[in-house]
């Protein structure tokens, strides 16, 4: 039961909704300051020059429980959280969820997978994804016509 809560990728519907939503966010200004997380972990994404930056909230997770994969323009964050103390006699409230998770995000351009860097600090995973060379802006010189 708990496992289901954190495996949004189990349903293809959720997967495509996630991608559609990012597409919407990119091409239309959202009035609401925050979007409801479309999966776990919740993400903030922004563009920083020639790279995209993704910030994921992964409290309680350590590096050995996390995987970051990049293919083309898709970023996948997956992992497993199971940090309940031993010897529990009663569960009064369980809102944090446990089990394995996977979330895929489609970015507007291809990513240079070799140059991706990830950093985990205080439960925040920050991933810097430099754009692929082919996706970078190139200025085309316009020559005067003789």
């Amino acid at each position: 039961m708990l496992l289901n809560r954190m495996t949004p990728m189990g349903s293809l519907g959720r997967f495509s909704r996630d991608m559609d939503r990012l597409f919407d966010e990119v091409f239309r200004v959202s009035r609401a300051p925050y979007s409801r997380p479309a999966g776990y972990p919740s993400l903030n994404v922004w563009e920083d020059g020639d790279a995209f930056v993704v910030e994921a909230e992964v409290p309680g997770l350590t590096l050995d429980k996390l995987s970051v994969d990049v293919l083309g323009n898709e970023l996948t964050i997956s992992g497993e959280r199971n940090d309940a103390p031993a010897e529990i006699t009663t569960i009064h409230r369980r809102e944090r969820g446990a089990g394995s998770f996977q979330r895929t995000l489609t970015l507007p351009t291809d990513i240079n997978a070799e140059a991706v860097a990830a950093d985990l600090k205080n439960g925040i995973l920050t991933i810097r994804l430099p754009k692929a060379e082919t996706a970078k802006v190139r200025r085309i010189e316009v020559k005067p016509h003789d």
């Binding site: 925050y34 903030n44 910030e55 009663t90 569960i91 409230r93 205080n122």
Partner: protein, 131 residues
């Protein structure tokens, strides 16, 4: 299943209080019980030990956690699902907890509170007087 558990007497030792404020976010919590203690685990990503304030007053346990600033200036977000600057949540703590001995620790953005159970509460005899 969880709702049923909340009805038990034991859980009166630690019941979350509804708080809805605009400025702070409500962190998700697990409230678990072992033989000797009640354990509260709260997800507070981006918070360090310096930013946590845990107080107990009149049986009300309050957690305040300040998120460390990560950006000098706010970026223009393509997607924005989180952005808490403060997490806060309160719990009613019953007599079954030894409030003097409550301890807290934070690691990887996960705050854990330990509420040791009090020694068995002694039964009280009520004197019955004749009218």
């Amino acid at each position: 299943m969880v709702d049923n558990a909340i009805q038990t007497n034991e859980s009166k030792n630690c019941t979350p209080v509804k708080t809805e404020t605009r400025r702070s976010w409500t962190p998700p919590v697990d409230v678990l019980e072992t033989k000797d203690e009640v354990v509260i685990i709260a997800d507070v990503p981006g918070v360090t030990a310096d930013g946590v304030d845990v107080q107990i007053e009149n049986g009300l346990l309050t957690i305040e956690a300040r998120v460390e600033k990560r950006h000098d200036s706010e970026p223009t977000y393509l997607l924005r699902e989180h952005g808490a600057t403060t997490f806060s949540r309160s719990f009613n703590v019953g007599d079954g907890v030894n409030t003097e001995a409550i301890s807290a620790e934070i690691r990887d953005g996960k705050l854990t509170l330990h509420l040791p159970k009090a020694e068995a509460v002694k039964p009280r005899r009520i004197d019955v007087k004749t009218a």
